[in-house]
Symmetry: C2
Subunit: 171 residues, 2 copies
DNA sequence: TTGCTTAGTTAGCCTAACTAAAGTATGCTT
DNA sequence: AAGCATACTTTAGTTAGGCTAACTAAGCAA
C-alpha cells in the first residue's frame, strides 16, 4: 500500500507535555533507560545477523576492506589501510586475498607507479551486494508484517539517530 | 555514507526464511528499505560505541564471559564454555585471566569437587556495570534533547524488535 | 577393589590479524 | 646525478583465540 506517512499523535503513551528542553532529571533517567534498551537491541540484532555473513566466506577484515573499496572507488593501498585503521603491511595480505578471490583488482597508479590502486571487480561488487541483501533480507523478515505506521516511525527514528551520529562525528 | 541502490526485488530473493502472509510488492520494498537503514544504523552505532570499550581493557571474549558470569550467577566452567559456544579448554585461560584481574572467583562445587564454579566478584560486577554505563551514557548523550514523544516511539519500536528477535530465536 | 565416566587442565598446534623494521622500487628536488 | 622521500612488500615476531588429544582428579557402579 502507499507508504504514506500517516501522522497521528499517540495521545495515550506520549506522556506529559514538555514545553521546553531543559535538564529535567526525570527525562534524563528516561533517556538512559531508552538508550540502554537500544544498546541491547543493537547488539542482539547484529549478533543475530552475523550468521548470514558466514555464507559469504569472507572474514570480517576482508569484508570490511572490500566494502571500502566498493564504495570509495579505486583507492590506494595506503589509504585503504588508513580507512581501516591498520598499517599498510597488514593490508597487503588482505588485498591479496581479495584479489585471489577475484573480488578486487590491483593496478598501478597511472601517475605514480609506486602506488597500488585497488578497485572492486564486478564480482566484488556483486558479492558485497549479495551479503548485504542476505542481511537486509533477514532483517526485513523481522519487520515483515509491521503496519505501515510503525515502519514510518521506525524510519524516522533511525534517520534521526543517523543524523545525530553524523553530527557527533563532525562536530 | 553508502550509496545504496535499493532495488525492487521480489521478496523471495531476499530471505530464505518464512513465507510472508501477503506478498504485497510495494510494502515489501518499503520494508526492505527500512531494514536497510536500520541495518546501517546498527553497524554505525556499535562501531561508534566500541571506542568506549577500550577504556575497560577487556577483550571481547573476556567481556562476554564476564557478562555471563555476572548475569547467570555462579556457573560451572563447562556451562560457561557452552554458553559462549567454545570448548572447555578454550574457556580455561579466559577464566584464569578474569580471575587474575580480580573480576571472578573460582571455587569448587560443594557437592562435586571436580566442578569449578565461577562467580563474579563485586569488582567484576562493577566493571561490567561501568562498561555498560560508559556505552549507555554515550548513547544517552546522543538521545539527549529528543522530545519525549520521540523517545516513546523509539522505545516502543525497540521493544517490538526485541520481541520479534526473541520469537525468531525460539520459534 | 576395579573399571568407566565426567570435569577441568595441560600440551601442542593452528589461523587470523596485527606489528616494527628492513628492503625495493619509484618519484622528487636540488 | 645524488640523495632524500614515499608507497608498498617482505620478514620475522606477537597476540588473541580457537582446536584436539592426552592427562589428572573426582565421582560412580559393579
Amino acid at each position: 500500500m502507499a507508504p504514506r506517512t500517516i501522522r497521528k499523535k499517540p495521545a495515550s503513551a506520549a506522556g506529559p507535555r514538555r514545553p521546553a528542553p531543559r535538564p529535567d532529571p526525570d527525562e534524563s533517567a528516561r533517556t538512559q533507560a531508552v538508550a540502554d534498551r537500544l544498546h541491547t537491541l543493537a547488539i542482539h540484532l547484529l549478533r543475530w545477523l552475523r550468521k548470514e555473513d558466514e555464507a559469504l566466506g569472507l572474514s570480517g577484515s576482508r569484508l570490511s576492506a572490500l566494502s571500502v573499496v566498493v564504495f570509495a572507488g579505486p583507492v590506494s593501498l595506503g589509504d585503504l589501510a588508513a580507512a581501516e585503521q591498520v598499517r599498510p603491511p597488514s593490508m597487503t595480505p588482505v588485498v591479496l586475498a581479495l584479489e585471489q578471490a577475484g573480488l578486487v583488482k590491483r593496478r598501478a597508479h597511472p601517475a605514480d607507479r609506486r602506488t597500488v590502486l585497488v578497485e572492486a571487480t564486478a564480482k566484488g561488487r556483486e558479492q558485497l551486494t549479495r551479503g548485504r541483501r542476505l542481511r537486509v533480507g533477514q532483517l526485513a523478515n523481522l519487520l515483515e508484517g509491521f503496519p505501515a505506521r510503525e515502519l514510518d516511525e521506525l524510519e524516522r527514528t533511525v534517520d534521526m539517530l543517523r543524523q545525530k551520529l553524523e553530527d557527533d562525528r563532525s562536530g
